[in-house]
Symmetry: C2
Subunit: 548 residues, 2 copies
């Protein structure tokens, strides 16, 4: 048992290759055991066991600097840098986060959870090292899918011109969360499988030296190659071909499912929990698949997270040419959708709230300034259920909520969600974003409007003195508060489902002035710059008191 005695990378430098291989086995067992209990990015981490060992064997951290892109694949790194008990001892499982975290360890440089930024960060470190005449190695570890993000290109383009010593380790497992996409993927495959030097090498185009390790689980080869590039004075790419899920049969067989595993039975590979049969993911998937069948103009666009609308591999196959996954390239997703809609198509893009911010400029400029009728689906717009601060859906309202020409809708239940979608897809006047409720599935007990062209709040309970304006996911909370107030006081409050985030419904708000004195706004999001602040602003020169 080597693993339990690793206190720092110094400890692995004492081992020989055979012992390192045993260490790798122990690490895989620890990864599988922990994930089976608490879930996690199992497949990604199983793929980088040897890569991580070799990095810490050859380089000297924390003096040498490793920046892990996305950093969801750093469980092994954490094991080797003083945090092994968080993987061996069940009672300490939750003492580490799932990403690098400078507050946890001096071996972690940044809290990172979005993709494609590691090369830029590493190049900045290398630039400052040079200005200070430093000598350390600077290494960025990036996945092949992260190379699809434009930011990675920008940084390679810059680092290639800068020309200073920097090592980019490309962990190529030919996967994104689902299968990887893009022409670059083909280039990497040609580099991987062509026996001789392949013409047209992406990294050489951008000024990098290039080395390939075709078996990224061969520790001797990894160690040898890293030793060769150590202390390089030029930018170099080490292309390491790995197998996602390596060493756990089920994870190798279904790489997408095991990218992020839920707690499971190790022997059978069966997940212990199941998703509730009715959820907003499957609802929209079924709805969209039907639309796709009946309308050749409907195109569903994902940016590597098709699962946020339930588009598993079956659904993607069914959708055929009417489904696009652009890879981790949100900016392109938005312009592709804008182009499709301009030509008369009906594009629907879906991704997490916190990833939409990666394409803000394209949304504001190309899509909204031009009033192009794209439908955007914003999922996970909440802090609840997010497993890291980098994935919190906090900023969508300050961002999208203020863009001219964008209609940002907040449905409160399934029927409203579907009707809003249906309306949005069939209109051709305005871009529309829909904030998917981040709750269990609720149902409407009455008919729901079909036309959303007029920005009008919905008064669901007519009361007086106090009005509760409860947006989207927090509408049910508003219902509970309304009941509570009615039971505990003599006041019967008004309850409003505002539905529209961007513009205020001045008419309804004016009306409330007549027989209301207090307004409460509820929303699942930031107070600062939040939706409530525009209600407060509306009433700011009146006698109405607003509490956000």
């Amino acid at each position: 048992m080597f693993l339990e005695n690793i206190r720092s990378p110094e400890d692995i430098k004492k081992l020989n290759i055979n012992e390192l291989n045993i260490l790798a086995k122990e690490m895989r067992t620890a990864l599988i055991n922990k994930a089976s209990k608490v879930g996690g990015h199992l497949g990604s981490n199983l793929g980088v066991v040897e890569l991580t060992i070799a990095l810490h064997y050859v380089f000297d951290c924390p003096d040498d600097k490793i920046v892990w892109d996305v950093s969801h694949q750093t469980y092994c790194h954490k094991m080797l840098t003083g945090r092994v008990r968080a993987f061996l001892n069940e009672a300490e499982y939750n003492t580490v986060t799932g990403y690098t975290n400078p507050e946890e360890s001096k071996y972690d440089l940044f809290s990172i959870g979005h993709t494609s930024t590691a090369i830029g960060l590493a190049t900045g470190i290398a630039k400052e090292r040079d200005l200070k005449n430093g000598k350390e190695n600077v290494i960025a570890v990036v996945g092949d899918a992260a190379l699809d993000g434009g930011q990675s290109f920008e940084s390679l383009n810059f680092a290639g011109e800068l020309g200073t010593g920097i090592i980019i380790v490309v962990n190529d497992n030919d996967m994104s969360i689902p299968e990887n996409h893009g022409a670059l993927r083909n280039n990497l495959n040609r580099l991987h499988y062509s026996s001789r030097n392949c013409k047209d090498n992406y990294f050489k185009v951008l000024g990098f030296s290039y080395k390939i390790i075709r078996d990224g689980h061969d520790l001797s080869k990894l160690v040898r190659t890293f030793k060769e590039v150590k202390n390089t004075k030029k930018p170099v790419v080490v292309h390491v071909c790995t197998v996602k899920g390596k060493g756990y049969k089920y994870a190798e067989e279904d790489k997408e499912k095991w990218h992020w595993a839920k707690p499971f039975d190790i022997k059978s590979g069966i997940y212990q929990s199941t998703i509730p049969k009715e959820n907003y993911g499957s609802i929209i998937r079924d709805y969209l698949l039907e639309k796709i069948t009946n309308d050749k103009d409907v195109v569903v666009i994902a940016a590597s997270t098709p699962h946020c609308i339930g588009f598993n591999s079956n659904a993607r196959k069914k959708a055929g040419k009417q489904f696009i996954d652009v890879g981790i390239a949100e900016q392109n997703a938005v312009t592709i959708a804008t182009g499709i809609a301009k030509r008369g198509g009906k594009p629907i893009i879906a991704t997490f709230a916190s990833f939409w911010q990666r394409a803000y400029d394209q949304i504001e400029q190309e899509m909204c300034l031009n009033k192009i009728p794209v439908t955007m689906i914003i999922t996970n717009a909440s802090v609840y259920g997010q497993n890291d601060e980098t994935h919190c859906g906090l900023y969508d309202i300050p961002l999208l909520g203020n863009i001219r020409n964008l209609m940002y809708l907040a449905p409160t239940n399934k029927e409203e969600y579907i009707n809003m979608l249906e309306w949005s897809i069939n209109q051709n006047k305005t871009p529309v974003a829909i904030r998917v409720p981040w709750t269990e599935v609720n149902h409407s007990d009455e008919d729901v409007e079909k036309d959303y062209s007029k920005e009008k709040y919905k008064i669901t309970i007519n009361g007086n003195k106090l009005a509760i304006l409860a947006l989207g996911s927090f509408y049910q909370l508003g219902q509970r508060i309304e009941k509570f107030v009615e039971e505990k006081t003599k006041i019967k409050p008004t309850l409003i489902n505002p539905r529209y985030i961007n513009d205020v419904d001045s008419e309804t708000l004016e009306l409330l002035k007549k027989n209301h004195k207090y307004i409460i706004t509820l929303e699942d999001g930031l107070l600062s710059g939040g939706w409530g602040s525009r209600i407060a602003q509306f009433y700011s020169d009146s006698d109405i008191k607003v509490k956000c």
Copy 2:
């Protein structure tokens, strides 16, 4: 005289190559004449005269679709598509905007002013064309500098995999606004100057067929090549090497100066107006150059707009290795700065308000979530003086103003601006953004604070009943209003320079409650999601009335 008779592209199809060459001359004369009177993107447009003629000669717009990236180089396109009088007749000069504009013409597809989006838009159009079994050509015209933007890579990567017919015309003049940057520039130069096929071709890496026109002013060659690629069923790049400023001596000699020309004397090439000697650009340039000399850790970073802080070629040369221009790649600018600061350097990034939105994700995640002390300079944060809706600095407050851990400062005069900069550069706790006043240069008549670590509004006039909170550029407006109110009424208002955009100074705002009833907030920006909305929110449950 052919030009004055061009009513639509149909008219140029009747001309032969000799006549087209005469037309080109006439167009250059018109470009120079108009720019000499009203200014404009002269250099960019002089470079694409033949390219534009050839496109409209070979392709059949508006059935065929041309998407112009950035679209500041479409004066010639406008001349050939029914708008020639806006270039020949001085009285009609202002009947067209400086960018493509669908409201102006059916030949213009989008209102575009930011870079790198044309390939994505064109690919979306091509995708929808295929779903509808359309037959038209889809063409994106992009500059070499626009290829540095990550979005261009994302779109090439996608289009190369999609594999359908699309034509990317790369207008390569080896320039951005200043000189172009990046390893890709070297690749394009190798492709341009290597007599035989160059190994490692960027476009072939990404699945494109490739053709090069080494003299992009040779109409016969342009026409022949475009005819060859017309109706292609595959993605193809036509790499056209042009000379920015072609045909006007001064513009060829100093390409940076003539990218956007001010009114000038044609014969001498001398600008008729001069920049006021004291302006916020030269102030910060002189300040930063001195810092650079005295502190090896200071690094100034631009993203193709160094002129926004006065960094002309002299200043850039002086700054040496402590100046970086990453090209049109704002995302990379932010991560490079973040890496530099993490390693102990003192990076300062500067660009226009409306371009910062292109790197929102990196600002929020890598920089601010990690509390990395980068200094960001936000210029042109106003609608005033912007020559197009795509360049308005409207959204910076909703965007940057709500990011946790970011301190967003609004100086009101030169001394405050410099002191804020000095403080920001020398502290190492927090990322700081500074909203440069968008006014003539004002001076403080008293000592200005040196320490900005505590978020405290500054009460400059102590009054009662009414308080005027006048942010940044609008502080002088606040002074005028204060005087006006004092003169016209018996009220002596309080005047406040808030200085801090992100967090409210609750202490001062609480204090105002004592002897004030009304608050006015002034800011040069959007009301919706603006700074005033958080003041309104603060007082929303009190008796104070707020008018934003």
